[in-house]
């Protein structure tokens, strides 16, 4: 087993719990973050049914995406310090990226797309070198465009590409650095929510995001 797997399978549940307990505690600032961190760390290392949470999260997925980790860190910091690292348009870019990537990846990878095309295979450049330029070039272009236009989500995509170059995950498929089912599902829900909000004429971003935006 790749030793870095333990980092991802610990970090993602820890950050998810941290974000959730921040919301539950209602305590702002460093005090709230510290309390939530203690509670989350205890929950992550508590032996649930004989094993700590990383054991169970590795069973679910050993490949949480770098983008998912990046978004969780941003969400936790924004909530603790109202730092406004991400503005509403940065979040929107994150959800659009996740939703588009999910639509491009999952139906085809599950055998429900064109008969003998698997978009997941494009993440292995040494096998499908010619075609994989669309994935690698597309991700690079998306990150470059976002950064150039001042959208901070571009930096998270950039980090995902650096993570792939460093081989941080158990998977050696580029898709797994960009996307995972949790991030994909949240993105699709957020996009549907944004569309519904637009149709019903309600504000397009949640109150919490607007309050921290700059």
């Amino acid at each position: 087993m790749k030793e870095t797997v333990i980092i991802w399978t610990t970090l993602v549940p820890f950050l998810l719990l941290l974000w959730f307990s921040q919301r539950m505690s209602g305590l702002p600032g460093v005090a709230g973050l510290a309390l939530a961190a203690v509670v989350s760390a205890a929950a992550v290392w508590f032996p649930w049914f004989g094993h700590p949470v990383p054991f169970w999260s590795a069973s679910l997925s050993a490949n949480f995406s770098v983008i998912m980790v990046g978004l969780l860190i941003v969400a936790v910091f924004d909530r603790a310090f109202a730092s406004g690292i991400f503005r509403p348009r940065d979040w929107r870019a994150a959800w659009i990226f996740g939703a588009v990537a999910s639509v491009l990846l999952y139906p085809s990878a599950l055998g429900l797309g064109p008969r003998n095309f698997d978009s997941y295979a494009l993440g292995w450049p040494w096998l499908f070198w010619g075609q994989s330029v669309w994935l690698f070039g597309g991700a690079g272009f998306a990150a470059a465009l976002l950064i150039w236009r001042g959208n901070r989500f571009g930096y998270v995509v950039f980090l995902a590409m650096l993570g792939y170059a460093a081989g941080f995950q158990e998977s050696d498929n580029f898709w797994d650095y960009l996307l995972d089912p949790v991030y994909g599902a949240i993105s699709l829900v957020m996009i549907l929510w944004m569309v519904w909000r637009r149709r019903t004429g309600r504000p397009r971003v949640p109150t919490s995001e607007r309050s921290s935006g700059r």
Binding site: A58, D118, L127, N173, D180
Partner: protein, 397 residues
């Protein structure tokens, strides 16, 4: 403000380069993609000493059978595969336990030495060990497949089930350097973006030019379809990548038969209502495949296996015309790359019984070895030569 904009431009350029760099660096390795199949000479290797009685049986029809797991107390023993070590030792692996998906299922290995007898099966991979090595929940094991390439390194592919049944399985790869006595910690191979669910091996791998294997695998989660796992040397280890053979929900468990360096045929287990075996052909070393075409061999949703003999004829082991059951096991020959078939022999036939998951391999000396499950309890072994196949074919001509 202007400085910040310049930084953004530089970072944007860096991001674009970071995206393209791994793709560009893969250029050298990209040259190895779809390297073509390694074709055997088909005749006895020059300078090879006769082993056992094989030289004598090479021209005289020869057939014998044995049980690999004699004395087994397991309620379930299934999905056996074979490999040959450089010294001629034959190895068989299968999974066994109290039932499919049970927590006591382990991967067992038995070897056949010079005396022709099979050794006492040894559990080489247990649920507890895999759970400890991978640091994740494992509820059962299954579908082992040996990888041998004539070197002193022996590979073992197998699946662990993290949840549910076979659709909750993930594939693992481990290596042995002492003929299968001890094995490295397994490495999980990521082959699917959705929690790495459901990739299973079943049939013989094909050796690749430049090293490595093309392993026919299949998925059975939402879709049920065949794929090829490409294991290619990459640095100290092997890279794993998967290409699609066919999508959808109607064929799986392909038997891959290389016909030439860049040409191959795959035969599929079928579960459409008509239930006929289908076949696909590839002319670009397994990169793309024709749409599966129905053959004249029946297939009632059961495992099959095929190999190419020295004269290019394809030998198939399959269950014939036993709707919903696997009451017989037959051999068939095709002289036109799998389009037309002639059934030549019945290896097993017993009403109410089950003979399944045949696995064939052929040595360079022309010996054909086969393992299969009887009633999913016994692992049976059959050994015959091409002269015996010719004799059977002549008898039904």
């Amino acid at each position: 403000m202007k400085g910040a904009r310049i930084w953004r431009v530089w970072l944007a350029v860096a991001a674009l380069l970071a995206g393209l760099a791994p793709w560009w660096l893969a250029r050298e390795e990209g040259a190895k993609s779809f390297p073509g199949f390694l074709m055997e000479s088909g005749s006895p290797r020059a300078g090879d000493p006769p082993t056992g009685g094989q030289a004598a049986v090479a021209t005289k029809p020869f057939f014998r059978t044995a049980q690999v797991n004699r004395g087994s107390m397991h309620a379930k023993s299934h999905a056996a595969t074979l490999a040959e070590l450089p010294d001629g030792t034959l190895l068989a692996v299968w999974y066994a336990g109290s039932g499919e998906g049970a927590s006591d299922v382990a991967i067992y290995l038995s070897s056949r030495g010079a005396d022709g007898g099979w050794s006492e099966p040894v559990a080489v991979m247990t649920r507890e060990r895999v759970e400890r090595d991978l640091r994740r929940n494992v509820i059962s094991l299954g579908n082992p497949l040996l990888l041998a390439d004539g070197s002193d390194r022996l590979g073992l592919l197998f699946v662990d089930i993290a949840a549910g049944r076979w659709s909750g399985s993930s594939m693992n790869l481990t290596w042995s350097r002492d003929g299968g006595r001890t094995w490295d910690a397994p490495r999980s191979l990521t082959m699917n973006p959705l929690a790495n669910l459901s990739a299973l091996p079943a049939n013989p791998p094909a050796l690749l030019r430049g090293g490595g294997w093309a392993v026919p695998i299949y998925e059975e989660f939402l879709g049920k379809f065949p794929e090829t796992l490409w294991l290619q040397p990459r640095g100290e280890d092997y890279s794993a990548a998967v290409s699609r053979v066919e999508g959808g929900v109607y064929v799986l468990q392909s038997a891959l038969v290389p016909l030439a360096v860049d040409r191959a045929v795959s035969f599929f287990r079928d579960f459409r209502p008509a239930r006929w075996m289908s076949a696909s052909w590839s002319d670009d070393a397994g990169r793309t495949w024709t749409k599966p075409a129905v053959t004249e061999l029946p297939n009632r949703d059961s495992g099959l296996c095929a190999i190419r003999l020295s004269d290019g004829v394809i030998l198939m082991a399959f269950n014939d015309l036993s709707p919903g059951k696997r009451e017989n096991l037959r051999l068939a020959l095709s002289e036109d790359e799998g389009r037309n078939w002639r059934t030549i022999a019945t290896l097993e036939e017993e009403a109410g019984s089950e003979f399944s998951y045949p696995y064939l391999m052929r040595t360079a000396e022309g010996m054909i070895r086969m393992v299969y499950s009887a009633r999913q309890r016994q692992i049976l072994f059959a050994e015959f030569n091409e002269a015996w196949v010719d004799e059977q074919a002549e008898a039904v001509r």
